[in-house]
């Protein structure tokens, strides 16, 4: 019986992998040979981020904890759910909160969409911290990877800023006051904030200091919501995208996943 099932599965598999359509998509001949293994990496656009060979220990989960990869996956999930959320969201104080209610009650799969974006955002902050912890603990910031660590620190900062700007968008008490508390700190910026050291002496007021620039006003209101929205949906994701390209490029150019120099 199970033999027969096996046979059927094999046959279906063969039908699929040898069909013109499948072959036109994948370009890779069927079978598991060293050549096809290479082609899977070299000839598929999604996998070509990888080198064709990796060190043996690089494949062990507990060497890298997969945390860089997981951070990237979560970033992709956030981009996907984020774009869908944008279809339902108006960045103005009259609509933003209503849009949330609408998502949670009327949009098909709306709650799943919103929850997933929210929890993935928190998760990404956590996985990026853990990725940094791993990179530190294996000493992978050491030569030749110093610069990639610096790029990583920029990504860490941007990840937290992305999460922070997103917090305001539902325009509820939680987000508004969290962002108020956060941006109030900007008032105290030395020289550039009106309550910071030397700010007042240099002519800073609540209407021209850095906090005003961040919020587009002296309080968290409509302009702040619009600015948070643009940072969150356009400017920061673009920056992160560019830095991720540099990051991955450097992982490859610096010799792949770090490891002890032993060969031999």
């Amino acid at each position: 019986m199970s033999n027969r099932i096996d046979e059927v599965i094999k046959k279906v598999q063969k039908e699929i992998t040898e069909s013109d359509i499948y072959r036109s998509i994948y370009r890779i001949p069927p079978g598991d040979t060293p050549r096809t293994r290479l082609l899977w990496i070299l000839d598929t656009v999604y996998l070509h981020l990888h080198p064709s060979h990796v060190s043996r220990h690089g494949c062990k989960y507990f060497f890298t904890w997969g945390m860089g990869g997981i951070s990237f996956l979560v970033f992709l999930i956030l981009t996907f759910t984020g774009v869908l959320l944008m279809f339902y969201y108006h960045p103005d104080t009259a609509n933003a909160y209503q849009d949330m209610k609408y998502l949670m009650h009327d949009v098909p799969f709306g709650p799943l969409l919103r929850n997933m974006h929210r929890w993935a955002a928190h998760l990404m902050v956590i996985t990026v911290w853990l990725h940094m912890l791993r990179v530190f603990m294996t000493g992978s910031y050491k030569p030749p990877r110093q610069f990639n660590w610096v790029v990583g620190v920029c990504l860490l900062t941007l990840t937290m800023l992305l999460s922070f700007t997103g917090y305001l968008l539902p325009w509820d008490q939680l987000g508004m006051w969290a962002v108020t508390v956060g941006t109030n700190m900007a008032r105290a910026t030395p020289i550039l904030g009106h309550e910071g050291p030397f700010g007042e002496q240099l002519g800073m007021t609540a209407y021209n200091d850095v906090r005003f620039a961040l919020l587009g006003g002296s309080i968290v209101a409509g302009n702040a919501l619009l600015r948070a929205y643009i940072w969150h949906c356009i400017a920061l994701p673009l920056l992160v995208g560019i830095l991720l390209m540099v990051h991955f490029w450097r992982v490859r150019k610096d010799g792949g996943i770090s490891g002890p120099k032993l060969e031999g």
Partner: protein, 329 residues
């Protein structure tokens, strides 16, 4: 009591923090254990070589004294070549990890709704008003520092300090690309102290221990918005005036001078002391050159100043070290 704890822990926005605590504890333990295991293997290999019983092709597979990452393999996997095909060896693991993460996120999102509170209302300030959880460490430091330090200077120093790490490393060949503890004791302890002691722990305190008025409430205590704590804190110069009985120390001018001296003295003593120690022990850090040596330990001692200030406040009730007309430290 348990009810209260549960109430706090199960608040939807606090779930990620509970998750973070578990994951940080788990992975820190993993990293340290792997490091210690690796160190032991290396010591064994070294002594084996010394007693010339060391045979080529043992499980350790050491060459020229380089550390191994062989702790990861089953005997079966030891037979694999050192470099393997990415497909399927790595892709397989990535695929599995991706599946687990996606399924986990799906379940989380199906069973727990993201919080949505009342519509934003600028006329009603919630008490306490908390920043997003990952910034609560900084908000917690507001208890001990003015906003310009806790909110602006410290975050900037953290970012610059992290970026500077690879350039302030005097032993780049040690522990490069494998888990170890013995070879990088100071680096690892300092990093973990900062990351866990000063960042994660502060986040946890800010989330679970701080109630109305940012006052300390144990998780099992009910939040009482009317609680008043009378606490008299004095500035350093006043503190000195009190214990020495010299009235002149209590004036604003004295405060400016004493504060300046105290901070200058702090850096002079710590940096000078570290340098003397390094010279005495001939530490490799000296190879960084004087400038980089000083920058490295300036960052280190600035980090250590945070717990010191916290202790000064909690134990001696000292509010500011240095009071000037423009800023207070």
């Amino acid at each position: 009591m348990w009810q209260n704890i549960w109430l706090i822990v199960s608040k939807p926005d606090n779930i990620p923090i509970v998750l973070m605590m578990i994951l940080v504890a788990f992975y820190t333990t993993v990293a340290l254990r792997l490091g210690i295991k690796n160190d032991r293997l290396r010591r064994q290999a070294a002594s084996n070589r010394a007693s010339s019983e060391f045979q080529q092709g043992t499980a350790l597979q050491e060459s020229n004294g380089a550390a191994t990452v062989d702790i990861f393999y089953t005997p079966e996997e030891m037979k694999l070549p050192k470099r393997v095909h990415t497909f399927p060896f790595l892709v397989k693991v990535e695929f599995l990890a991706a599946l687990v993460v996606i399924v986990f996120l799906m379940f989380w999102s199906i069973f727990l709704d993201a919080p949505l509170e009342e519509p934003a209302n600028p006329n009603f300030t919630p008490n306490p008003s908390k920043a997003p959880w990952y910034f609560l460490g900084l908000q917690e430091l507001l208890v001990y520092f003015d906003p310009w330090i806790a909110g602006v200077v410290l975050p900037t120093l953290i970012i610059i300090g992290l970026m500077a790490i690879p350039y302030l490393d005097s032993q780049p060949h040690k522990g490069n690309g494998y888990y170890t503890f013995a070879e990088r004791r100071f680096a690892i302890l300092a990093f973990l102290f900062g990351f866990i002691g000063l960042w994660v722990v502060m986040v946890v305190i800010g989330t679970f221990m701080r109630g109305p008025g940012w006052m300390w409430f144990w998780p099992w205590e009910r939040w009482d918005p009317h609680r008043v704590v009378s606490e008299t804190n004095v500035d350093l110069n006043q503190f000195l005036a009190n214990i020495t009985g010299i009235k002149a120390l209590a004036t604003p001018t004295a405060s400016m001078i004493i504060g300046f001296l105290a901070i200058t003295l702090y850096y002079a003593l710590t940096l000078g002391g570290t340098y003397r120690y390094a010279v005495k022990k001939q530490l490799p850090d000296l190879q960084l050159g004087l400038v980089r040596f000083m920058i490295k330990y300036w960052f280190f001692w600035t980090m250590m100043a945070i717990p010191i200030k916290i202790i000064l406040r909690l134990v001696f009730h000292i509010k500011y070290i240095w009071v000037t007309p423009w800023f207070n430290v």
